[in-house]
Symmetry: C2
Subunit: 400 residues, 2 copies
DNA sequence: TCGGTTTTGTTCTATGGTGCGACAAAACCG
DNA sequence: CGGTTTTGTCGCACCATAGAACAAAACCGA
């Protein structure tokens, strides 16, 4: 038996129970309206007896709660509506070039507490910045005064992270590299609450993939493009964010749009980021780098030629780069977030045409473009969603 | 309960058994050397009693067989080596611009019968060609004379297919579109053996992802690039071929390398295919389109400037296009197949450098390039592997 | 040669989770 | 107010795995 070790463990009876508990919990979370025990049984194919027993276990553990009976008259004995437990929640943190955020999300997807701070952390000192974030997190948790059970925490960062080791490898916009945020944050957080690192675009994409924990969003497959100082991205297939073999996926900002284009700080030439990144876009439009996308739109509306040229260039570069990704991955939808979300109405129609011209499968299914819901800190929500996904994946660990 | 229907079925006891049977079967298939019942138990974490009972079931159904005891002396009672059943097999078919293939692969990954026919089917009439393939398949099955139990069949096609409906949507190199190969093939095949359609590159990639049914290949994550008349590709993540939301993924041939480049028949400009496709490459080298990659290499070796320019152009285009994919998906390895496999030794070193310069994560993990094992019809093997994967996924259906 | 050791494979019983059928509960309907 | 309908619960049977003891088949060493 020299070769190989255990690849996967055999399932036992307790595995069965764990699996079904998770299924019941996810079924309740995914439902549009609070289902009864009988609804859960019908949707999972289990008997009412089994579904009820599992539900009872989840209710006892606080992961589900029984709601008030709805008063509208229906035939037969009324069922007890089931909802995800509102006292189970997770902490989502975010550091961005222009924002610090701490947010607590409960199992129903409600923001139960948050604090946001605007500022400029480009080229900042990591230590004090993370200290500030730690205090923000402590404040948020104090606001809640123990009204929730924290199931986990996550930290969104605008860069490449090694989630397993908890190390931020490189965040060019912040000027940070090779550090462990947990070392600074830990004293501010409850014991054992270790924030899992994640990439900003990956986590922001998660808020589009699931509108609440366990509730799938409108698109199962899409490419999320996050306009920040640079351009990040994330690929979502079958509702899951693809993290790549080492968790570094989604660098759509460095797809080559024109090999003869301007040099990029990544070492390559003509990267998408050089046309559609926030700084590049504003510079091309002759605006200062702290201008807003709204100003760019205003200038373009009044006929400013450099603003229009900047938008045209971004539109063309996005069409080329995104079409490549859509061709390789057969994704039907692109969701624009960050500053590109604000420009979606302007870029949209022309960009859709550009994609249709370059995407091979467009004749059967025309690629669609849409804007992400406006939110200053979507990745903070995504970080909390990721932590809550652990609960949904294996509820047994949280039943104690 | 107005909303939604059953998303996933609850697990029951029989599910447990089915899941564990599959695990045992896959464990045996994945092993380097034939394991004993005790080995299986150790690797799966099951008790020897349970592992033995599951193994007995699989042996009774012919999915596993007991081998001869190996004579090398070891302490303790010798175990009975277990092997995948050699009588369970699947049929893999392939239509390519220059090849028809029918191949039967058994559960151990051995080719137990095959017939290949060279020819030129560019712009061919689908009916007669598929008739020919059907006769080829019937011949192969007659060779076997019922010595195997066919578990399924697959058909690899160089184009975009709708596997669910069994329709070939468009195969530009063949000049085929919107047809159902099963209509022509069915009379030549045993009743009920309906070949599942698949894309040539996807299925060829599968042979790299698993060297035999259930046995993972050397790389869990890689990009397969298939050099045909055009350039196809497939993304393999965690050992699984990503088929995209509609099964049309992998069109790396139409990633834009240079927006000002030559027009492509897909409607876009400067596609990779215009630089690294077989026809484009040979044309650039001043060779006739039926020349071989070997001739191209010979010309380049003797210093022919147009041959070298063609190779340089392909190398540069591949670097740009593949780097984009590697950036977005965080894939560490590229496997070159088809005519590009033959050119890998020539393109390799320079191409690896080009990728390293453009891939963002290269500083932590340098992208690697390698050639696929030479095989005239890898996609036929892949089609059979796909069918056999159904057996490994749920062996219960095949035990009866 | 033969008992001790080691590892494999089998047998038996216990545990635990789900399915099934019956029944009680809680509403509406006529 | 009884009939109908749907929900939730209870008790029992079934079945798959765990665990432990036992039988089998080899090697090792005296």
């Amino acid at each position: 038996m020299a070769d190989g070790e255990a690849v996967q463990l055999g399932a036992r009876q307790s595995t069965l129970r764990a699996s079904n508990l998770g299924l019941v919990l996810r079924t309740v979370c995914a439902a549009d309206a609070p289902p009864s025990r009988a609804d859960v049984a019908a949707r999972t194919g289990m008997t009412r007896a089994t579904a009820a027993r599992l539900v009872d276990g989840l209710v006892a553990g606080g992961l589900l709660v029984e709601g008030e009976r709805d008063p509208l008259p229906r035939r037969g004995r009324p069922g007890t509506p089931l909802l995800p437990g509102g006292r189970v929640a997770a902490l989502g943190l975010q550091v961005d070039a222009g924002l610090l955020a701490a947010r607590v999300l409960d199992l129903r997807g409600r923001v139960v507490a948050e604090r946001l701070v605007d500022g400029d952390w480009v080229g900042s000192d990591p230590g004090p910045t993370l200290e500030r974030l730690g205090r923000l997190a402590a404040d948020v948790l104090r606001d809640l005064a123990g009204r929730v059970r924290l199931a986990g925490a996550g930290l969104a960062l605008p860069g490449i992270v090694d989630a397993d080791r908890g190390v931020l490898l490189r965040a060019p916009n912040l000027g940070w590299h090779d550090l462990r945020p947990a070392d600074v944050l830990a004293p501010h957080l409850p014991d054992g609450l270790d924030p899992v690192l994640g990439n900003e675009a990956d986590l922001a994409a998660r808020t589009v993939a699931e509108t609440a924990p366990g509730r799938p969003g409108p698109h199962p497959d899409f490419l999320y493009v996050s306009g920040q100082i640079g351009v990040g991205g994330a690929v979502v297939l079958d509702g899951r964010v693809m993290r790549g073999s080492a968790g570094w996926a989604g660098e759509v900002g460095h797809v080559c749009v024109d090999p003869d284009g301007p040099p990029c700080r990544c070492g390559s030439t003509g990267c998408l980021e050089q046309y559609a990144g926030r700084h590049a876009l504003l510079a091309a439009a002759g605006l200062p780098r702290d201008a807003s996308p709204g100003q760019l739109l205003d200038n373009a509306a009044t006929g400013d030629p450099s603003a229009r040229a900047a938008l045209d260039g971004a539109r063309r570069a996005l069409a080329i780069a995104l079409a490549g990704v859509l061709n390789v991955l057969d994704i039907p939808t692109v969701v624009l977030g960050g500053h590109l979300g604000g420009l979606a109405a302007e870029l949209g129609p022309g960009l859709e045409d550009g994609l249709a011209a370059r995407v091979l499968s467009a004749r059967w299914r025309r690629p669609r473009l849409e804007a992400a819901a406006p939110d200053a800190a979507p990745a903070a929500t995504g970080a909390a969603l990721r932590a809550l996904a652990d609960v949904l994946a294996d509820p047994v660990r949280w039943l104690d």
